[in-house]
Amino acid sequence: MPPSDDHQVELHLDELLARRGMTLTDLADRVGLTLANLSVLKNGRARAIRFSTLTALCRVLECQPGDLLTVRRQ
């Protein structure tokens, strides 16, 4: 059975940005995403993330996917 569109994935982007002293605009420039797309991700409106985007985010934020994303338990 395919997964439903609702998800419980949480993005810890704000915490990682604060830890690195970076703004969302800086991150967008360094990752190569538009600010609009990054805002979609930050505000929980994204339904999926490309591996290439995840790789770039982890590279710039110097973290692992598990630091950036967690699945909220119901």
């Binding site: 990054l38 979609v40 994204a46 339904r47 999926a48 993330i49 490309r50």
Partner: protein
């Protein structure tokens, strides 16, 4: 890229738009010509099956030769009445109207697709409307033309007759348009989903 390609990038919707405009002008023109010809003429032609006039037509033929009874003969009616002229027009005009309507709706759809994003609910809706016009209009026109033919034939001989042509091409075009509408709708929803992929 070759020079001629760089000078003119193919935009097939533009070509299609031009063909549709030409089609509207030609079909509308042909239909108008038919109406004017009927209105100004002092005789009209009625198609009858040869079996309706068998016996009288065979007379000049040599032994062993006869008119094929399953073929249509063209019968001329001199000084037709207004009702006969209208009926004669109705044996062909409805199809012209359906085709012109179809071409105009398609032209509007192509213009909209060239100007804006084609993968929208509106485009899918317009394609469905086109399909309804084709299916209902096409077969409705066939029915009207058949009834008009029946009335006309009753005017020229005792046993009225008509044929109800059920052209398959209306069905193919109608369902083809419905299929394209569904493709556009799925493209729209796939694109909407892709917009939330970062």
């Amino acid at each position: 890229m070759k020079l001629w390609e760089s000078l003119r990038r193919p935009d097939w919707l533009a070509e299609l738009q031009a063909v549709l405009i030409l089609g509207v002008v030609l079909v509308a023109g042909l239909g108008a010509f038919q109406v004017v010809r009927l209105a100004l003429g002092d005789e009209l032609t009625v198609s009858l099956p040869a079996s309706a006039v068998s016996g009288t037509v065979d007379a000049p033929l040599r032994a062993g030769a006869e008119v094929a009874s399953d073929q249509d003969l063209q019968v001329l009616v001199a000084e037709p009445s207004a009702a006969q002229v209208v009926a004669s027009a109705l044996t062909g005009l409805p199809s012209y109207l359906v085709v012109v309507t179809l071409l105009v709706l398609l032209l509007r759809l192509v213009r909209s697709a060239r100007r804006d994003d084609p993968f929208t609910r509106a485009t899918a809706g317009r394609l469905r409307v086109l399909a309804v016009v084709v299916l209902a209009g096409g077969y409705g026109a066939a029915l009207v033309e058949s009834l008009a033919g029946f009335y006309l034939s009753s005017q020229v001989y005792d046993g009225a007759t008509t044929t109800l042509d059920v052209p398959l091409y209306w069905l193919l075009v109608g369902f083809g348009l419905l299929a394209v509408a569904e493709v556009v709708n799925r493209g729209r929803s796939m694109r909407a989903e892709l917009e939330t992929v970062v």
